[in-house]
């Protein structure tokens, strides 16, 4: 299957999953007994955060692959994944803040999960900022790869911050030792999983499109076969005029 066809299939599947998410999250799942309608934001907040983690893991893998293979295609894959991760982390923070206002009573609180997530966002903003410091694409790629590897150290810190520190943020719902059934209604879990699938497929679609743009930018300009030759310049040495 060609890359264009994969993109189209991903796009269609992402749209279908998003439609399922809207139906399940807004119509089928009941409002939360404690949090009310605001809880429905979790069906997009949690998937955004999870896919952001996935994107940052992809940055790590692609950065290591670049350092081993020295192939700029791996660098472009890392860049596209980082851009996706930064966007989704920003979205997760924004959605969490909108959810926090009615449930916690504040837009922001100095909670370990919130602070470490913002720090993670800053690290990958720095990762993207390191690019373009040098003229040589390989120098940029090497520096970015080092930041990409070093930056991933923060991901487990963010995820386990709700376990390691006393926090206002709730502990993991799905990935808990007792299983998700003890913490969430089955219909809510299905809506949440639909969100994860929709965000993963949508992110995959965006990732492939961005890769195509980055590859096109990196390709050398095409040489026109019928181009007219550049006239030569004759330098006359002598008195000048």
């Amino acid at each position: 299957m060609s890359r264009g066809a994969v993109e189209r299939v991903l796009g269609v599947l992402a749209a279908l999953a998003a439609a399922a998410l809207v139906v399940l999250g807004l119509l089928v799942a009941p409002p939360d007994a404690v949090q009310g309608q605001a809880q429905r934001l979790m069906y997009v907040h949690v998937p955004a955060a999870w896919v952001a983690y996935l994107a940052f893991a992809a940055v790590l893998v692609c950065s290591v692959a670049y350092l081993v293979r020295r192939d700029l295609a791996w660098d472009r894959r890392a860049q596209a994944a980082a851009e996706l991760g930064v966007g989704l982390t920003g979205l997760a923070i924004m959605l969490g803040s909108i959810w926090g206002r009615p449930v916690w009573g504040v837009w922001w609180t100095w909670d370990p999960r919130l602070v470490t997530t913002v720090v993670l966002l800053l690290v990958y903003v720095g990762y993207l900022g390191v690019r373009g410091l040098a003229v040589d694409a390989h120098v940029n790629a090497r520096r970015a790869a080092v930041v990409g590897v070093a930056g991933f150290v923060n991901v487990p810190l963010v995820h386990f911050s709700v376990v390691w520190w006393r926090t206002l943020h709730q502990p993991p719902t799905v990935l808990r030792p007792a299983g998700p059934a003890s913490a969430i209604e089955p219909v809510m879990l299905v809506a949440l999983l639909a969100g994860v699938v929709a965000f993963t497929l949508g992110a995959g679609w965006l990732y492939l499109r961005r890769l195509r743009v980055l590859a096109r930018r990196a390709a050398p300009p095409p040489v026109s076969v019928g181009a007219r030759p550049v006239p030569s310049v004759t330098v006359v040495r002598g008195d000048g005029e």
Partner: protein, 215 residues
């Protein structure tokens, strides 16, 4: 192994000699530490209980912020004198890294000590032995990331990117160091976190530094 240690020691001593001659770190960091502590006192005061409780955090904020100007000087002297490539040819990457980390650790630990003494005097705060241990450990991990990011951006335009990279990377030192030096807090777990931070940052710096020296 012995060769790397002896060369790293020579690189560290060379950094000290450079500092003794130019007083770059002292003139940049010492006034910065004093000014920040005094301004923090003005900004957070005048209630003595607020100042006392904020003292450990202020000390660590000063250290993390001081890492930014120090990172700019990681290879600045060598680049100015045009001997960076020569030095890279003479000393193995690991010796250069450990020598520079050792020198930076001294500056950062000194910054923490000065800030802690100042907050003890001005904020009437007390310090603990575990706090001092946390100061040394946190400064070590921070020195590792400072050398790494200093080698990436130190002599580049967009040096503001240093703050974007270094300040988040210093978060574990800030958080655990502050908790470890807060009286009444069980410091054991925070010291363990600082040890893990040191191991991870130094391992990443050791693995990544040779790549950065390629150009």
């Amino acid at each position: 192994m012995v060769s790397v240690v002896s060369r790293a020691t020579r690189v560290a001593l060379r950094e000290m000699a450079l500092e003794a001659g130019a007083r770059e770190a002292a003139t940049v960091v010492a006034p910065f530490v004093v000014a920040t502590v005094v301004l923090a006192g003005l900004g957070l005061g005048p209630r003595p209980d607020v100042l006392r409780s904020a003292a450990p955090g202020v000390s660590w904020l000063v250290v993390v912020f001081a890492a930014v100007p120090l990172a700019r000087s990681v290879a600045a002297a060598e680049r100015e004198e045009g001997c960076w490539d020569l030095l890279r040819g003479l000393a193995p990457a690991s010796a250069l890294l450990w020598g520079k980390v050792a020198a930076l650790w001294v500056w950062l630990a000194a910054a923490w000590a000065v800030a802690t003494l100042l907050t003890a005097a001005l904020f009437n705060a007390s310090t603990t032995a575990m706090g001092a241990l946390g100061g040394g450990l946190g400064a070590l991990g921070l020195a590792g990331v400072t050398v790494l990011f200093g080698a990436i951006i130190g002599a580049q335009r967009r040096s503001g990117m240093l703050a974007v990279l270094l300040l988040p990377a210093g978060l574990p030192a800030l958080l655990a160091g502050t908790q470890a030096s807060t009286p009444g807090v069980d410091a054991g777990a925070w010291i363990a976190l600082l040890v893990a931070y040191d191991l991870i940052t130094l391992a990443v710096a050791w693995a990544a530094f040779p790549v950065l020296l390629e150009g």
